[in-house]
């Protein structure tokens, strides 16, 4: 699609016009209990025409990408802007859409299409078989999602951006049963910007055998103990902890109140930036769109702002918010390039992208060996937090008791609850690079109309003290 040509043929007068084309193809394959459960694909392709008039943006997202379709969309988007401008929340100028030109491409070894549907089914089938380590495994499934996205953006103030993404999300899951006890262990459904090299049969079968083993182990494990104690979280649980109790709380559009009817508000106020001690001084959090293979890396956000790494929390102090150009203008607060849309049919809003906890000094052994009594938890299973992002309760799939500096027996149904800033101020040790894991999920929901978007979260293993921990029913 020649977007520049389309843009040049739009004959309406407006303060600014932008065309954002997204073509995304998702291909998913699922094997369950030795049989194909689903082999499907979906391509979504369209253009959002955005027009600025009277200080108000209006959009028309259309599947009709002909010249007449785009012309009609531009005229109607302008009319939307004009009718709404009588009641605008904020009067914007072209500054909200900075000029940007450039390209981006995910790094990968094996391109989409380089492994056939038949081969992927065969590899997932092998994974599924490997999950069935014993007849206690009553259900096993292996899942792969390949996403290819192309993003093009042009505007009347000279922006011209092309970004290509290749992403793979996979998951492996084993449910074990003994009488009326059921336990499920998974690979955590994590996604990365990566190629089809992910579908490596021996890696997958090894991983799956471990997952199956732990599912069975959980059947015969004791309940996680109840009490206030030390807690150590693996990166695939930290991911959720960062996402819910840092990321969403710091989105500037939430702080400004845009989300109050849906995802909620935030306990953070604009005056907290630069002053609030969010956590202990071991806490360093970055917005980092430059990490190779992390799911939400990119060069530009969907408003055309160039993306770069920024400290959000430095030595525990809150220094910067997660707000794109519109939020930065509205709030006069420093932000990041995170004005993002789920697709061509939704308008961009402030999203998280990659939000990472930087590695610290402690080895895994340093952390465990200094704990008298506590629980180590892996892989998120349950998540819930209030609309201000204060009171949370999270659960993990797999726990291990720590006694006198050693990991001992496995415990099932590990859960914990807390309140955001006291929790982060209880951050006692931060693992070093050897404990670091990069994770991501395609399933963060937010916005009205609703949008589901990809986020990445990388973290080392972390220790928290004085945490309220408990088990299952």
């Amino acid at each position: 699609m020649d977007l520049k040509k389309l843009l040049s043929q739009i004959n309406i007068s407006a303060d600014w016009i932008g065309l954002r084309e997204v073509r995304e193809k998702g291909t998913y394959r699922v094997i369950r209990d030795g049989n194909p459960q689903a082999n499907g694909a979906g391509t979504s392709h369209g253009i959002m025409v955005e027009v600025l008039a009277n200080g108000q943006f209006g959009y028309y997202a259309t599947n009709d990408m002909s010249i007449s379709g785009i012309q009609n969309a531009a005229a109607k988007a302008k009319a939307q802007a004009i009718h709404a401008s009588e009641y605008s929340l904020y009067s914007f100028s072209e500054d909200a859409r900075p000029k940007a030109t450039g390209e981006y491409e995910s790094s990968f070894s094996k391109a989409a299409g380089s492994v056939s549907a038949g081969e992927i089914n065969e590899i997932l089938l092998a994974g599924c078989d490997a999950l069935k380590v014993s007849d206690k495994i009553v259900s096993a499934s292996a899942y792969g999602l390949i996403t290819e996205t192309e993003f093009n953006f042009v505007s009347t103030n000279g922006s011209d951006i092309n970004q290509k993404f290749l992403m793979v999300t996979s998951d492996f899951s084993a449910t074990a049963q003994d009488g009326n006890i059921f336990q499920r262990r998974t690979g955590g459904r994590s996604g990365h910007q990566i190629g089809l090299e992910v579908f490596d049969k021996s890696n997958i079968t090894n991983l799956c055998a471990g997952i199956g083993q732990q599912a069975v182990e959980l059947l015969f494990a004791e309940e996680c103990p109840t009490g206030t104690m030390d807690m150590v979280l693996a990166p695939d649980q930290m991911m959720l902890q960062i996402h819910e109790s840092i990321g969403h709380a710091l989105e500037i559009d939430r702080i400004l109140g845009d989300e109050r009817n849906y995802a909620g508000w935030s306990f953070i106020r604009l005056e907290d930036f630069g002053t609030l001690q969010y956590g202990s001084n071991l806490m360093n959090v970055t917005f980092d769109p430059t990490v190779e293979h992390e799911l939400a890396s990119y060069a530009f956000d969907d408003g055309g702002l160039e993306a770069q790494r920024e400290y959000i929390i430095k030595d525990g102090l809150l220094v910067r918010g997660l707000g794109g150009k519109e939020s930065q203008i509205r709030s006069n607060t420093p932000g990041v390039a995170n004005f993002r849309a789920s697709s061509w049919n939704r308008a961009p809003i402030d999203r998280m992208a990659n939000l990472n906890l930087e590695a610290g000094e402690s080895s895994f052994d340093d952390i465990i060996s200094n704990i008298e009594y506590g629980v180590y938890m892996e892989t998120n299973r349950s998540w819930s937090i209030d609309d201000y992002r204060n009171k949370f309760q999270f659960g993990s799939e797999y726990g291990q008791l720590i006694v006198n500096g050693k990991l001992t027996k496995t415990v099932k149904n590990p859960n914990y609850r807390g309140v955001t800033t006291p929790f982060w101020n209880n951050l006692k040790k931060v693992g070093n690079a050897s404990t670091f894991g990069i994770h991501g999920t395609p399933n963060c929901g937010k916005g009205e109309p609703n949008q589901v978007i990809r986020v990445g979260h990388a973290s080392p293993v972390c220790q928290f003290e004085n945490i309220e921990v408990f088990g299952g029913v």
């Binding site: 082999n39 209006g58 028309y60 599947n63 939307q80 009718h83 709404a84 605008s88 904020y90 109309p449």
Partner: protein, 440 residues
Amino acid sequence: MENKFNNISDKVFALLNEGEYLTLSFSSENTQFIRFSQSKIRQTGLVDDASLELELIYNNRTCGESFTLSGDIDADINSAQSVLETLRVEVVQLPEDPYIVMPENNGSSRDIHSGKLLSVEGAAKALTPAMEGVDLAGIFASGKIYRGNANSLGQKHWFSTETFSLDYSLITADEKMVKATFAGSKWNQSEYESFMTASIKRLEFMKRDAIKVEPGEYRTYIASPGVRDILDMFSWNGLSEASIQQGQSSFGKMRNENSKLSPCFSLLEDFRSGSVPRFNDNGEVAPDVLNLVNGGLLENTLINSRTAKEYDIVSNNAGGGEGVRAPYMSAGELSEAEVLKKIGTGLYLGNLHYLNWSDCIGGRITGMTRYACFWVENGEIVAPIENMRFDDSFYNFFGENLEAVSNKVEFNPEVGTYESRSLGGTHCPGVLLSSFSLTL
């Protein structure tokens, strides 16, 4: 739109070879969105979207692919043809699928609901002035929604509707909120304005200073919108037969351990209101009414034809994910006027927020109170409460702690818009619980 779907269907089915079976699913919408914050317009626009999915079956193997339709009929037929070619290449590479659901022709249907909507030019002016003098955040969505399904044996279903919803929160200066949804298919300006006035009046209750309640067990009334959030959980590792069979369902205890809920609790799937199509992605039509939990006993689970084949049971034509598409919880005896008196001393919870299984197999759900939630003493509202976390099993609160069910079933429209506008909603009453567990 219907003609376009029929036209593409006819052309694509004509391309099929011997032994190939094809099912087409069509989905489309023309929507206006206006997003409000501080009773002003934050973002606004229009969305036209349409997609077609092809599901090919050949030699006991199946695969599917969907694509965005452009609206140009020739281009769309070409795209469908090339997707069919891709599926033909893929389907022969796949392992055999023993639980494949073959298409059938059990008769066609056509279900068209017309409405009267605001014009896209006039909506901002019709909506905004009534919000004056109050802080409102929310979303207006309005437009047409189409769903179609056809298969190569000649079966065809069509559903279209025109609906709108304004889903909003009103917020006091000290951040107390009430929630409301004005939804329907025929816009009536004066009804809208009096609905808004009534919800602004409700906000007055919220202006008293909030009180903090301690974690513990409380007598609690949960109003219909809060009950809806709990019932939503039953579509996620809940009433799905596959989920029970695969050891992941919170209802496994009812099947395996003979656990029961209160005789006051009955939940059915009821399509009679017509707000959501009865046909699923395979074009199979669900019964008008299906008892799920009847008087506290698990009477039916949701079984799609694939699950039926795998476990050798009878399908009730549930959807792909075996979720509850048209939930209806039966009314009880408790009258609205009696609610506060029957609480006595305890909690009135208007809405809940962010529910999740904290122990799915045990039926334990955690979540937050939100919006209009009050402390009640001696049958009278004392003040709103600060939001609290609950963590309790539905085997308790819909079991022996379910004291009464209100006699008024309310409709809570589904206003979700992930990827596209949702249809339908949940019919349910409020519930009075002798005990409900708050934890943080």
